[in-house]
Symmetry: C2
């Protein structure tokens, strides 16, 4: 996969401690970056209409919108609230011109140990929002999360499982493949090929796995600092037919979030273009 | 699955900060526990013959011996050294009367990002020690480790992957199923059934997944303190035909390793028998 700066999108969580949405988008533009993926809280902080204006004024494409999901809840009212909230997220994603709504599906409801039930709630939640997503021309990108988040963030933990959900749901849904979450999977090659053959790859996110990993959520690595073979994964993604944006998304409380945003973007560009 | 104290084995890592092997074995006997799983470093500290004597003198069964594996290495000499070391581990396991040798297969060699190569080294290493294991009547128990250990501890990360290895290797090899490592797996029920049908379940280990998990290696939980549904997993294990010992193995640097060993054992027994 040729990784050119035109293919690069910055997930704005990568610079969330340094900049608000406007500052981050303008910085991306300054560095020659042409796409972003904003988070709902960042959009809410400046207002939806203003966020859309900033993104458009800076000529940014929007590789995805983070995030919907979080379907499981302890009771029916909670599950309905999640569905309603996902419908609003679809509308927001359409307003900012996102190519898809990224879904982190949610884990066990508080106090529950019933994974099959949580997974059932996810399938039900997806089914409940699908008509609105289709009517809004907003593809839903299920992001399988690393199994270490199964309890508290996402009970969809492999690409295979996400693609099974897609098979059940039909049109309008696909997957966001993040190297951090899937790199370890012994079935990765087969499942990327399967995703491509079904035309289900809606996003490709990259960030590195550090050894040691000091924090289960906020110690993700810049490409090249960890153990992931980005050329290998990228070549599988390319063979599967994906030609879209490549999004860099790094949560890094003790390292990249503490550095000046411009340094972070410069390093992203340097490492990104070195992958090819 | 009925969890009676007669089914309980204590993996001696659970009390490694409190006691040496003799102290730990005698404490188990004092609490009415009839089985243990010692680690190689604990055995080495008192000497192999003495360890075997202590275990026998206290009437302990040995549910497993921890651990062999760690096959991948940067060069052929390193891989051969690992194979030689695993042969010694098989001999030690036989001397202490273990029911199986538990294998943590190893991750990426230093500096490598090539997971397929590491996995190939594991398959080669297993094949190289199998004849000696068979001749020693020492079953090899491949323990799939949680995907968060793929880089640095074990590149066998699902039960499915471990069972595929078993299929390739034939007789004399099976799996150790640890709830901590596999509880999240969407394919768990099918793969436990598969393991049972092939008569491959050599060990069943339990410990809980804490939310939040504060350390990627040493923050494992006592049963009941986390999110794992032990009755559910245990019923699948039982349906699969497993009737062996159930081993409690908890690495807990900031909690259980800091408490008096007798308190830890009392709590293990209390929680263990409450699962049924």
């Amino acid at each position: 996969m040729i990784m050119k700066i035109e293919d690069l999108s910055i997930n704005l969580a990568t610079v969330r401690q340094q900049w608000n949405l406007q500052e981050a988008v303008e910085a991306c533009a300054r560095h020659g970056i042409t796409a972003v993926d904003p988070w709902r809280d960042q959009v809410a902080a400046c207002g939806l209409a203003e966020a859309a204006r900033i993104i458009k004024a800076n000529g940014m494409r929007v590789s995805g919108y983070c995030r919907g999901g979080m379907f499981p809840a302890a009771d029916a009212a909670g599950r309905q609230a999640a569905i309603d909230d996902n419908r609003r997220a679809i509308d927001e994603a359409a307003t900012v011109g996102a190519q898809c709504l990224v879904l982190v599906v949610g884990g066990l409801p508080p106090g529950s140990r019933d994974m099959p039930a949580a997974r059932h709630m996810v399938a039900d939640g997806l089914a409940a929002i699908l008509a609105h997503a289709r009517a809004s021309n907003m593809p839903l990108a299920i992001e399988p999360l690393h199994p270490m988040y199964a309890a508290d963030r996402a009970c969809v933990n492999t690409l295979s499982q996400a693609l099974d959900l897609c098979d059940d749901l039909g049109e309008g849904v696909g997957v966001a493949i993040d190297t951090y979450h899937v790199w370890w999977d012994p079935d990765l090659a087969a499942q990327i090929a399967r995703a491509g053959a079904a035309n289900r790859i809606l996003g490709y996110h990259i960030c590195d796995w550090l050894v040691p990993t000091k924090d289960i959520l906020l110690d993700r690595g810049m490409m090249g600092d960890g153990v992931i073979d980005f050329r290998h994964v990228g070549s599988m993604i390319e063979k599967a037919g994906y030609r879209g944006l490549v999004e860099v998304e790094i949560f890094s409380a003790e390292n990249w979030w503490k550095r000046p945003g411009d340094d972070v973007l410069r390093t992203v560009i340097e490492r990104f273009t070195a992958i090819a």
